[in-house]
């Protein structure tokens, strides 16, 4: 899923404090699971904004709404659409995709982002998420037996570890980040496939990553 975290409160408040009628719009999918922009977080932020406005005697109406997915037009029903149009501004607690999708659907309303979108990640334990995919456009997980050097190696090394691997940890963050190549070698050893690493991997085709410009995917059988 897409993992995000909330922007600092002061940054959010500065961007919305001039609006008298603010709608905070949460998203019920990825950012609900990573506890950054779901119904509960919308409630917390709405209460914080109400308190901050009260502290400076500012009149401000804060409405709360959360939809299933901000990145899908079908979830913008008539209720939420009219709430968006009636608001002075919308503070979106969706990821960067959600924010831009609202802008595309409602081009007359100012939209402010409330989150910093971070990465595609997995839930490692309650309250902790880690990056697992970089969306490079050409998956190499088969070559490395299910551990991605693009996303999990700090330097995206494709042909073995660098010199910064120490006690199985990465030099960039030795406390928290395991060396991806240590993980790959351990897994290959376990599966008795270590000889697979003798094969030299040619340079990766990065044109399918962001380097080839904005991407789009089409299923011709599904388009109307």
């Amino acid at each position: 899923m897409i993992v995000a975290e909330q922007k600092p409160f002061q940054e959010i408040y500065e961007s919305v404090r001039e609006h008298q009628n603010l709608l905070i719009l949460g998203c019920g999918t990825c950012v609900t699971v990573c506890m950054a922009g779901g119904e509960r977080e919308v409630g917390i932020l709405a209460n914080q904004i109400r308190l901050a406005a009260k502290e400076e005697n500012r009149k401000m109406e804060v409405l709360e709404h959360t939809i299933t997915r901000q990145c899908d037009e079908e979830f913008f029903d008539s209720t939420v659409s009219s709430s968006i149009r009636e608001a002075d501004a919308v503070l979106s607690l969706g990821c960067g995709v959600g924010v831009q999708h609202i802008v595309e659907l409602f081009d007359e309303v100012p939209i402010h982002p409330g989150l910093n979108t971070q990465f595609f990640g997995a839930n490692l334990q309650q309250g902790l998420w880690g990056e697992r995919c970089a969306g490079c456009g050409e998956c190499v997980l088969d070559t490395y037996e299910g551990i991605c050097p693009v996303a999990r190696c700090s330097k995206s090394m494709m042909n073995g570890p660098c010199g910064g691997s120490s006690n199985g940890m990465c030099e960039v963050d030795p406390e928290n980040t395991p060396c991806a190549w240590q993980l790959i070698i351990d897994r290959m050893t376990k599966l008795n496939k270590l000889d697979k690493l003798m094969e030299n991997q040619p340079p990766k085709n990065w044109s399918r990553d962001r380097h080839g410009g904005p991407r789009r995917t089409q299923r011709e059988d599904m388009t109307l």
Binding site: G43, I44, N47, Q48, L51, E55
Partner: protein, 164 residues
């Protein structure tokens, strides 16, 4: 005016202690509004912030002593949430000490009454200090407003006499 205080109390300990305090004829301020919860583990950050939005001056969360939660860890989880809510209050400019967590066993009626009295006193002092600061800053503003026209006149005089 007495401060408006909301106390979220666990049914198994602090709420029973509050009841016991009454039975023992212990006095504690009448401005404390008790909300009974099945466990302080039920406390949600939104509950705490909402209390402040709805004009509470202080909020106390009172749960079981560490290690004796009826649901094992509810009070420990509540403590973490209270700490998080304190940070959220601080971000909006509200003194985080207006929210506190206490551990009071069911048998400690006098402790509940004492805690309620102490917390009310603390909140009352904070409100007084805040109003003094507010009055001070308003007084300063008024002084500046009065001083401004004098300065303007001085400038005008300076201009008319050619002094720079």
């Amino acid at each position: 005016m007495e401060p408006n205080i909301i106390a979220f109390c666990c049914h198994y300990c602090a709420f029973t202690a509050a009841d016991l305090a009454g039975t023992m004829r212990q006095q504690y301020p009448a401005n404390i509004h008790i909300v009974r919860l099945p466990c302080t583990g039920k406390v949600d950050i939104n509950m705490l912030l909402r209390a402040f939005v709805d004009e509470a001056d202080g909020v106390m969360v009172a749960g079981c002593e560490v290690g004796s939660c009826h649901f094992l860890e509810g009070n420990i989880r509540a403590k973490k949430r209270v700490e998080y809510a304190k940070r959220k209050l601080e971000e909006v400019g509200i003194n985080p000490e207006k929210l506190e967590m206490f551990h009071i066993a069911a048998s400690e009626g006098p402790l509940f009454a004492q805690t309620a009295r102490d917390f009310t006193d603390k909140i009352r002092r904070m409100i007084q200090q805040e109003s003094q600061i507010e009055q001070g800053s308003e007084g300063q503003k008024k002084k500046e407003q009065i001083a401004e026209p004098v300065d303007n006149r001085k400038e005008e005089n300076d201009r008319s006499t050619g002094a720079m």
